[in-house]
Each structure stands twice: as structure tokens, then as C-alpha cells.
Symmetry: C2
Subunit: 281 residues, 2 copies
Amino acid sequence: MCTVGVIGLGLIGGSMAIDLKRRGFASRVIGVEQDSIAAEAAKTIGLVDDVVSYEDCIGQADIIVVAVPVGTAVKMVPEILNKIGPDTIVIDVCSTKSQICHATQYHPRRGQFVSTHPMAGTEYSGPWAAQPGLFDGRACIFANTEESSPKAVKRIEELYGVLNMRPTYMNADQHDVHTAYVSHISHVTSFALALTVLDKEKDEKHIFDLASGGFSSTVRLAKSSADMWVPILTQNHDNVLHVMDTYIEKMLQFRDAVFNYDQERIRELIVEANRIKKILR
Amino acid sequence: MCTVGVIGLGLIGGSMAIDLKRRGFASRVIGVEQDSIAAEAAKTIGLVDDVVSYEDCIGQADIIVVAVPVGTAVKMVPEILNKIGPDTIVIDVCSTKSQICHATQYHPRRGQFVSTHPMAGTEYSGPWAAQPGLFDGRACIFANTEESSPKAVKRIEELYGVLNMRPTYMNADQHDVHTAYVSHISHVTSFALALTVLDKEKDEKHIFDLASGGFSSTVRLAKSSADMWVPILTQNHDNVLHVMDTYIEKMLQFRDAVFNYDQERIRELIVEANRIKKILR
């Protein structure tokens, strides 16, 4: 039993707060939220036992969860490591791992920091998007665990165990390559799809009326927040750019096949794409 | 009460067969399926009362539902109109409407044909993908109804009423523009996404392991069948090409913003894309 401090009471931070308290991992959960409306909402919803100041959170928590956009987290984690006692553990839950791991690499208290990426979420954000059970059954990536103390890693494995996540261990750079493919590019393609449709379908009623399940599911990530995604796309710049270029190349192959009425080539591309069926059910 | 004949016992035809019988619109549902394995499966599952020959179906059904890929339907509908008696009604359920409406425009029995597009489906195909309730609450487009007899239109409105669909009326050409935006392009972006990931992530375990809900939902349409999509993309050639070009342009704008680390521009594009929130909840 311990006090967990969550900095950033959005979708991820808020959802962790709910389940860590409800499932008995934390005896007390305190939260920090700089946006005053979100802070009030978090109190009203009852996501945490108390909304406290940044300093009080650092002073009181045994485990500090940094759940803010990755641009802020890169500066915040070293700052927190400067202030904590020898038994406090800090984790981040950001979607890119290289930069935050590089920023903390030589910190004297690096051992007390565990860098993680719980791969769960929805397209919504803010405390009102937090929900119990969000993490159940999903993968949680632990990055560069050899730089953390074994004791800290073990404790954080317990934390994610309570959230029913499957731990996966990898190098931070490797993480950023994989997530560029299986997460970041999906967001970019959804944003581009939304922009295309909004640009051309001036009559919003038609979008609403005709959008079948297919369109809704491919475009839903386009609801994702700019605060979260601007830093992800710039921090994971090289990988995201590489994947975007491959994607644009595939799109142009498809475009040429359609342009040429080349039914054989279109079929070939679709059949090749269908292989995803064997991997994702 | 009537006999409904369904030609093509796949996802759409099979799902219509189930609910038209179960909800009492049809006293008897007969089906035609040229693929012998699918025909056996449809019998085993019990999608229809009888699997019959093409000729028997045309001879016995009061309403004939043509639920085959659109390339085949364009030839089949005029052929069926040649053979039916004066009280039989024929409908198609294809995803493109211009070509089939043009192909039947001057047919002496054009009045007995109602061209529809029930906008429902999943990424799966075949009789084993058919399911009750597939159409409930979705939109059904009626194309060029002024070319059908009012009596035939009324009867088919009853049919889709039983399936709980909301009728929407539009011109066939207009339909093909809208669906290029809200359906066809989504499939192309999913195919391209699957191709990108399959090309680069040689380690399939990582795709499976790391794919969060976001990736699964943007890529799920890439499971869609080539038999259905090759003719859609070639028949709706001009519209699809136009939308693909707009999409590629948006993607390149995004790529340039990422390439230049231009956070302001990335934010602008995301915030613009976010407008889709107000239209699709």
C-alpha cells in the first residue's frame, strides 16, 4: 500500500488513478492538474483523493506517475528526480521513449526512474475521458529497464500487474520505431482523412448521414488532441517521417493502379494488404 | 408476404436473407450462390430456405435481390429484367450506383428495378460473415427513384423499413461522389496502411503485440475482399481518383510540416482535422 501521485489528470493519468485506487494498489491517490477546469472536473468526478500542488505531490507520493504530453515530460522528469527522496519511484507513460530516456540517462537518480508506455487509450482526452479498465489486457512497454534499479522495475511491474497489462521490454529507440508503425502513422492517416473529407464534403449532413462504420473507424483517431500529438510527431521525427514516406509510396502505387484501371495490380495490392488478417483478428 | 430471392449469399445478401425471413417480410427466402463451398455453408448455417439455381430463383421470387460484386451486377440486372414477369421487382445493393443505373436506364422494364445501397457492412465477407441486425439504424440510399415505378419503390421502402434502415434519396452520380469520400477512400487508406506496416514490420509478433486499439481500427478495413473492391475502385474511377489526389495532397502537407519540425503548422492541421468531432460522435 502506498501513495500514488499522478501528474496530469487526463485520459491516461485519470484512468490509472481510478484503477490503482479501486484495485487496492494505492491507499491514497493524489493528483496534480494545471488546467483549473480539468482540476475541478477531476475532483468532481472523484478521480483522486486530493488534487494537490506539484510540490506537495513530489513531497508526499511514493510513486509519481508523470502523465503529461511528452514535450513537458522530458523537462519534468529530471526536475522531479532532483527533488525526491531515495525511496520514491518516478514513471512516465509517454508515447515516445528515446528523448525522455536520453534526457535522464546520466541523472544520478536514473535508477529511480522507470520509463513505460502503457499501450491503451481512446481518441478522447481530459479527466472526463478517464475510465476504469482502460488498460486491461493491453501491452505495456518498459523501455531501457537496465538503466533503472531492479527494485524500482519490480515495483512498477506490480503496478502494471494490477492494471492487468502484459509487460514487454525493449530499447527506447526500438520502441520509437515500432510505435511509429503501429500507432503514430495511424493517427496521421486519420488526420489526413478527416482533412480530405472536411475539405470536400461541405454538406456536413451528408458526412453524418452516409458515414458507415468503416469511415467512422478509420477516421476516429482524427479526434485526438493536438497537445498530445504535436510533441509525439516532432519528437519521433525521423521514424515518423520514414513511415510517412513509405506510406505515401504505397498510396501512390495504389493511385497509379486506379489511374490506369489496372484491375490486376489493384487486386494484387489488396490481396497483399489482406495479410493483416492473419496477424490482427 | 412474398418469396424473396437473394443472388449472392455473402455478407450483405446473407444478412438480408436472415432478417427478411425472421422479421416476417418474406414467407420464403431462396438463394443463389455460385461458389459451391459458400453455397454449402449457406445451407448449413440456414441463411435461406433453399439454395436454388439462378433460373429457378428468377422464376419463383417476387423480389430479387442482386447482391453480387458490382462488376457482375451491371451485366446481371438487365439480364434478369429481360426474364421476369410484370409483378417481379429487382433490386441491387451495390456500393457504386452510376454504372448500374446507366446500364439499365433505357431498359423497357426499368420501372421494375430499384437501385439501392444499404450502407452497412463489416470487413468480413462470405455467408459466414452474415449476421442478424446488420442494417438496423443505418442509412439506405435509393438512387434515381424517378426511373422506377412508384409501386416498386414503395414495396422496397417497406423491405428496408423491416430492416430498420433510414431511406435517403439521391441521384446515382451524386451517390458515387459522396461514397468516394465517406467510404471508398477509407478502404484505400486502410489498404495502404496495412501495406506500409507489413512491408516494414518484418516481425509479426510486434505488430500483434503492440497494435493498440487505434491501429486495429484504422487498419481493419484492409481485411476487405478484393472481389468486392476491385470493381468498386474501377467503376468509381474518377471520383475515387479525385479523392485520392486530395488525400495525397493533405498527406504531403502533413509530411512537410513534420519534415520542417513546424509545430505550429502540425497543430493547425490537427485542430482542423478535429472538426470531425462535431460531425461524428
